[in-house]
């Protein structure tokens, strides 16, 4: 007999083992954790908090004031894209382990259209909503219903070198042409003194940030990306074209380095904190970093202002921030709402503002003396939040954003490209997306 034949049972055994490994499910049975010690458990899908102590304090307050409820946090990754993947995976599977979740500002239409997010109109009356910044509420609204409550808020802002402007007795620029004029003058002086110096640092890489930066230019020229009613693409309209042409011809390679075409937030901020740029367009976090002597060569020399606009236009800043929503598959929507109501309440928003420096989403906190005493810079930020603009709202936002990124990046990196025809071709693709999402309207 063949001696190897004795191996056959072993092969069979290995195969069986492989099958077990391939098909087995090692996750523990779910559902038993619904009540813990007689309390209703609210599963909260969130990312790792930047301010763990403040969250601890807020949660302790919630548990003290709501004895029947207990919050259990599920910590997801910090990157917005990775968090989106994790959360939507759970929602696609109709997970019972999700009650409350955080949404990035561009997600509510997608979550609404997919049926993952519960409409909150019954819990969240218009009178309550009016206390928040209008752009944030707009971002949470889709097809006439509201799907989230704003937890925190972010917008694009203009940071500038206060010392260099003050030396020339200049005020921060109110229009984009003024910004270019000031930048050119300071660049010429610095170059004369033999220093490498740029006028403007922004985010122009082919990624989501490019959409935010360009949206601000287009809106402040009186243009739009899409018609909010019909969803029709308006990039090929003269005002939108004018704004894109201005960035390409006046900023790119002139007052902004050509390298901006591959800058995200960290690269543009690095240029500014190294003392190599007069202006920086960034998000509120840049205030703390650029004023931290450990991280910045220009600490104490930085000013902050709302973004400029084109002559005759109005300054608009792209809205960012995180929203709280309730899963459509939650078994305890009332308890979930109690938690959201608590976290977005005035006292808790104030706690996050004073102890964490987090920009609150309630408008009246920007006039609160205690908040302003603890975080004086919030007054300036409040002016920017009031002029914030939501990005286009569509359930196919990732696809729309990518088309916009390709259009803007191509328009900016090629000085010879024919803008109207690039814009028309982008619009054809965008209008197709809009038609697709309209087809899916309930």
């Amino acid at each position: 007999m063949n001696p190897f034949r004795a191996g056959l049972p072993w092969i069979a055994a290995l195969l069986a083992l492989a099958l077990c490994l391939a098909c087995g499910d090692s996750s523990p049975p779910a559902g038993g954790a619904e009540r813990a010690g007689g309390r209703i458990v609210i599963n909260f899908v969130t990312w790792k908090p930047n301010l763990p102590e403040v969250w601890q304090e807020a949660l302790a307050g919630f548990h003290a004031s709501h004895p029947g409820l207990a919050v259990r946090r599920q910590i997801g990754p910090h990157s917005s894209t990775a968090f989106h993947d994790l959360l939507t995976q759970k929602l696609k599977n109709r997970s019972r382990e999700v009650d409350v979740f955080l949404m990035d500002v561009v997600w509510p239409p997608e979550f609404a259209s997919a049926g993952w997010a519960l409409p909150l109109d019954a819990y969240f009356p218009p009178r309550e909503r009016a206390a928040f910044f209008p752009a944030a509420m707009e971002a949470n609204t889709f097809a006439g219903k509201v799907y989230g409550a704003p937890f925190n808020i972010d917008t694009g802002m203009l940071f500038y070198r206060r010392d260099l402007l003050a030396a020339r007795k200049w005020r921060p620029p109110e229009t984009w042409p003024q910004l270019v004029e000031q930048a050119r003058a300071v660049m010429a002086d610095e170059a004369g003194a033999g220093r490498y110096f740029q006028g403007y640092a922004g985010q122009f890489k082919q990624y989501e940030g490019l959409v935010c930066d360009m949206l601000e230019f287009i809106l402040s020229a009186g243009g739009r990306i899409m018609d909010p009613e019909t969803g029709r693409c308006l990039l090929a309209e003269p005002r939108a074209l004018k704004a894109v042409a201005f960035v390409r011809e006046q900023l790119m390679g002139r007052v902004a380095p050509r390298g901006s075409l591959i800058y995200q937030e960290p690269e543009s901020l690095a240029l500014f904190v190294q003392g190599r740029a007069l202006f920086l367009r960034s998000w509120p976090y840049a205030w703390q970093v650029s004023n931290d002597p450990q991280k910045s060569k220009v600490a104490g020399k930085v000013g902050m202002a709302p973004l400029p606009h084109f002559p005759g236009g109005q300054g608009r800043a792209a809205l960012g921030g995180w929203q709280m929503g309730i899963s459509a598959y939650s078994r305890h929507p009332e308890a979930a709402w109690a938690f959201i109501k608590y976290v977005t309440s005035r006292p808790v928003q104030k706690l996050f503002a004073i102890k964490g420096g987090r920009a609150p989403t309630r408008r009246d906190l920007y006039e609160d003396p205690e908040v302003l005493a603890a975080q004086p810079h919030l007054a300036e930020m409040g002016r920017s939040f009031a002029q914030a603009a939501a990005r286009p709202r569509t359930p196919l936002y990732p696809a729309l954003s990518r088309l916009l990124q390709v259009y803007f990046s191509r328009a900016l990196c090629d000085p010879q490209a024919d803008l109207p025809s690039l814009a028309q071709s982008a619009c054809r693709q965008i209008d197709e997306l809009t038609a697709l999402s309209r087809e899916a309207r309930p």
Partner: protein, 304 residues
């Protein structure tokens, strides 16, 4: 039982035994290779949009492929992919040949040299990509320092230029995988009998002639194998683009695999993304078949 019949019976037993031995391997190949390929082909015939579940998942036949043929972004990605494959494969084969010839020399510290040459290949691609992104940086990049020294005003933003960005991605791939091509070619070099060179030398052939008439013909199987491996691998380029450029600027470095990934995972167009994946599969398959026809002799010389 007659001897012939006994032999046949034992042959049958051998066959069962052979399949038994192959079974685990076939099982895993089927699970991890055939099933995903078949599944992608199946998905590519449907319109599945994760963000719009209300549309259902209708069967659309070849509609995704027809769209693909008219999709300017996909066609640009296809062109970029082909450019990347052609340039990187040729450069890697050329450099690999030089590396193999160097490693084959009996110099002191040869084993150290061999190990050092393999380091780029051993580094994870994500790290390689990040490293090259830093080298190409407009502000603190080594490349600018090497070219322009302290003249900061002359520094260029390489990855911001559509042409140089694609060139940079190709360069990073060449840097990373030339030594792998070199390793395959070196294996081929070492199978060339010393007598052949000896005989050529006695016939009065110089180094160049010996290289062209002895080394190169004998290397054909190894070169063909390296070409096949590198081409198949180059078509699947993804991580370099993902880390270095995200497809920018202006889609100048977008390649099919990255485009398919964006469609599928970022945008949730599962059917369309699957069609892109199937296109890449078909391309790799087609090119491999062409190679097999052209280099059949070289690749299977031993077997024949």
């Amino acid at each position: 039982m007659r001897p012939a019949a006994r032999k046949a019976a034992s042959l049958g037993g051998e066959r069962v035994f052979a399949w038994g031995l192959l079974a685990p391997c076939l099982f895993f190949v089927a699970l991890f290779a055939f099933y995903p390929i078949a599944r992608s082909m199946f998905l590519s015939l449907y319109r599945i949009i994760l963000g719009l579940p209300r549309l259902g998942d209708p069967f659309v036949g070849l509609a995704n492929y027809l769209r693909l043929a008219q999709d300017p972004e996909a066609m640009l990605a296809l062109a970029n992919t082909c450019l990347f494959v052609a340039a990187s494969t040729l450069l890697e084969l050329g450099l690999g040949l030089i590396i193999a010839l160097l490693m084959d020399q009996a110099v002191r510290g040869r084993s150290l040299l061999r190990a050092a040459l393999l380091i780029p290949w051993a580094i994870p691609t994500v790290v390689t990509s990040q490293m090259w992104r830093f080298i190409m940086s407009d502000n603190y990049g080594l490349l600018n320092l090497a070219l322009f020294g302290g003249d900061v005003a002359a520094y260029r933003a390489w990855l911001a230029d559509p042409f140089w960005a694609l060139a940079a991605v190709i360069l990073a791939d060449v840097w990373k995988t030339s030594s792998f091509a070199g390793l395959i070619i070196l294996a081929g070099l070492q199978t060339i009998p010393a007598e052949l060179h000896e005989a050529a030398r006695i016939d009065g052939a110089g180094a160049l002639r010996r290289f062209i008439h002895v080394t190169l013909p004998a290397l054909r199987p190894a070169l063909a194998l390296a070409l096949l491996f590198r081409t198949m691998d180059a078509f699947r380029v993804f991580d370099l683009v993902f880390v270095m450029t995200q497809g920018g600027p202006g889609n100048a470095t977008n390649v099919l695999q990255f485009y398919g990934y964006q469609k599928m995972f970022a945008e949730g167009f599962l059917g369309y993304g699957a069609a892109v994946a199937v296109l890449v599969f078909a391309l790799v398959m087609a090119v491999s078949l062409v190679y097999l026809v052209f280099f059949r002799r070289a690749l299977f010389r031993e077997a024949a």
